[in-house]
């Protein structure tokens, strides 16, 4: 079994998605009857079946299937991490088609994506756990469809990370993206518009990637990532215009997908208006996986020597990343809505990682890869916390987050930990990733990037202490009807001061685990970096430990 872990990782959510969608087949017939006759007399309803009970049960079946599948993936990911640490990279040929011609699809796990896979499966699992009651509430009657999309999206993201085949990556990218569009579109009234923009921009990104793969294939005749690199090295194609164009097209596509600074327009609205579970799954993972793909392209497919020397983009990208960090931090400062603010911080974090990877030295790359892991958990923690706060306080505005430490101590404790990690306070992983990135920036002499990182930390501190201040000392304004959140009902339950009003355990527990994960990663930085370096040292970046 353990030998097939790379396949099981993907098969479990894929089959579960099929089962979950089958579980939903009975829904439409029953759903339409209670939904339509809301103004008819109730006698016209269905006499022999109670509509509530079976629907709830279906809901639970979908939830359990999703959870079970993601647990299987998680176990597979952990197994692979163990195998990789012990025995080096795993190569798995689907269907045992290990043809030298690059026909067979290869799944390839080395130290970097073994860690990323553990991160992805854990985040997906926690988001699924959080979804328990939220899905039925936010997308009533559609839970089987929702969980199908959820599982497909998780499968696509894991597949993008595990695959060793450039075209297969495109297919999985689209699987994740298409289910992602649906996940976003199921949100509130504005979500459909956000999803439409996301579809248009996302398709442009994916198509550029596909075009880049086409150019690579023309020149090398291979689609296998390692195979492409070998052919480029053997035939000295580094100077070939075709390969350079392929690299640029692929980068452009991936930049759009990851919402790198000038191309981020789709992200804030999509994640603000999506259902909270979708935001918790996609905000941490979609951008991070795209960055992983960029790193994979730079290191494995084209090779660092080509990526950094042949195009001569390194400095420009780092400067762009720095501008992106500063700009999106400033925009985040201007936001009054909690989730929207977090979305802009996600864009800023993308700048961290892209900049770090393009510093072209060892510490920058370590920082970027380490930050993929830590930012996955950080973003999850922030979005889980924000979703819980929005659900409980029925407010989307930051100004409404008052008196929360007393009411929701556990949520706020975990949320605060996440905020501290975003700022970069030592025991959390946010500090260590900033440490590596800044060290890389100084070694590369990219001072603008270093300044941008420090500036972003400062802005995060301002933003989050504003929230902490509100939540600690803020008082409810007398006229608390704030017109800024039109679609939220004003039916506020009476706020009795001093009463603990914590969110249900199914929502707080994943948040607490995510927050604990931040500290766990932070405390195990040395081990994680050692694992990353085992693969990274093979690429001989400047300033490496050897």
């Amino acid at each position: 079994m353990a030998d097939h872990a790379p396949a099981i990782l993907l098969i479990a959510p894929l089959f579960a998605a099929i089962l979950v969608s089958l579980a939903g087949i009975r829904i439409p017939a029953r759903r339409r009857i209670p939904a339509a006759p809301s103004d008819e007399p109730s006698i016209g309803g269905e006499p022999f079946e109670s509509p509530e009970f079976p629907r709830l049960k279906e809901d639970k079946v979908c939830f359990m299937l999703t959870l079970g599948a993601l647990i299987v993936s998680e176990v597979a990911a952990l197994t692979m991490l163990g195998q990789v640490i012990e025995g080096g990279a795993i190569r798995y040929f689907v269907g045992n088609w290990s043809s030298p011609l690059g026909i067979g699809i290869e799944l390839r796990v080395d130290h970097i994506n073994a860690l990323a896979l553990v991160m992805i499966s854990t985040v997906a699992l926690l988001a699924a756990f959080y979804s328990n009651h939220r899905v039925e509430e936010e997308t009533p009657g559609k839970s089987s469809q929702y969980y199908t999309m959820f599982l497909l999206c998780a499968m696509g993201l894991m597949g993008m990370t595990v695959t060793g085949d450039a075209f297969n990556l495109y297919v999985l990218l689209e699987v994740a993206a298409l289910s992602g569009y649906a996940l976003v579109a199921m949100g509130d009234k504005r979500a459909a518009v956000a999803a439409f923009n996301y579809i248009i921009i996302g398709t442009i990104g994916a198509s550029f990637y596909l075009l880049g793969v086409g150019y690579l294939y023309i020149k090398t005749g291979s689609l296998n990532m390692v195979g492409i690199q070998e052919i480029i090295a053997e035939q000295g194609l580094a100077e070939s215009k075709t390969i350079q164009v392929a690299f640029i097209l692929i980068l452009l596509g991936v930049f759009i997908k990851m919402a790198f600074f000038p191309l981020y327009a789709w992200l804030p609205n999509a994640y603000t208006h999506a259902p909270s579970t979708s935001a918790c799954l996609m905000a941490p993972l979609v951008t991070k996986v795209s960055i992983y793909i960029m790193v994979r392209m730079m290191l494995t497919v084209f090779g660092p020597a080509f990526a950094f020397d042949s195009i001569g983009w390194g400095d420009a990208v780092v400067v762009l990343a720095a501008i992106g960090i500063i700009a999106s931090s400033v925009i985040a400062l201007a936001q009054t809505e909690l989730k929207k603010m977090l979305c802009f911080l996600v864009v800023a974090e993308v700048g961290y990682m892209v900049g770090g990877a393009w510093l072209a030295n060892h510490h920058g790359m370590v920082g970027a890869i380490y930050h993929i892991l830590s930012d996955g958990f950080m973003t999850l923690c922030m979005f889980l916390g924000a979703s819980i706060l929005v659900v409980k306080t029925r407010q989307t505005a930051i100004a409404g987050l008052v008196d929360l430490y007393r009411k929701m101590p556990l949520t706020m404790a975990a949320f605060t930990l996440g905020m501290l990690s975003m700022i970069g306070v030592p025991p959390t992983c946010g500090f260590f990733s900033k440490y590596f990135l800044i060290r890389g920036g100084i070694e590369a002499g990219q001072w603008l990037y270093v300044v941008a990182l420090l500036f972003s930390s400062l802005v995060n501190a301002i933003l989050f202490f504003r929230i902490i201040e509100k939540a600690f000392f803020g008082e409810l304004p007398a006229a608390e009807a704030d017109p800024g959140h039109g679609h939220e009902e004003q039916g506020h339950p009476e706020d009795e001061p001093g009463v603990i009003d914590e969110a249900p355990l199914s929502m707080v527990a994943p948040l607490a685990i995510a927050a604990a994960g931040l500290v766990f990663i932070g405390l195990n930085t040395r081990e994680i970096v050692t694992v990353i370096e085992q693969t990274l040292n093979a690429y001989a970046l400047t300033g490496g430990g050897g």
Partner: protein, 156 residues
């Protein structure tokens, strides 16, 4: 004239795909109507599919089916690329009595890949139309400027 022959005539498939792609991109970005944007998206994807398919073509080659050797169809693909004329590695191997000449067969791999890409394109179009329908139900319009106006008035 050599330049013209080289860049335009010999590589006309690239020109066609670039022109189609630009038409699609233009429609996606500039058009006001959401359905027109989706049509642009389809043109954009079709351009890329055309590019891949044209890459697999070779002069004077036939369909890549080898009737008497079940496994050898696979070998024909490695001959690489039509446009680049890069056909050296891997393809020509000794198959015992029957030598398969990769130059005689079109490269099937890009075509196979495009089967998947076509499916992806159809799925994207489907999702896009479904979302457009949802937008129309909620806002009663498919024109982007009217949509933005309504969004702004909702916010204000």
């Amino acid at each position: 004239m050599d330049f013209f022959q080289d860049i335009v005539i010999d590589r006309f498939n690239y020109w066609i795909y670039v022109i189609l792609m630009m038409i699609g991109l233009h429609a996606m970005i500039v058009k006001n109507n959401l359905i027109k944007k989706l049509i642009g998206m389809s043109i954009f994807q079709a351009a890329i599919i055309l590019f891949f398919v044209s890459v697999g073509v070779k002069d004077g080659a036939t369909i890549p089916i080898v009737s008497h050797h079940g496994h050898e169809a696979a070998h024909a693909e490695a001959g690489g690329a039509g446009g680049g004329g890069h056909q050296d590695e891997g393809g020509v191997q000794d198959h015992g009595d029957h030598e398969i000449n990769p130059d005689r067969h079109a490269n099937p791999l890009p075509h196979v890949l495009m089967l998947t890409a076509i499916v992806v394109g159809v799925a994207t179009l489907g999702v896009g139309l479904a979302v457009a329908q949802k937008i129309y139900r909620e806002y009663g319009t498919l024109e982007e400027n009217e949509l933005l106006e309504k969004l702004r008035s909702n916010d204000g």
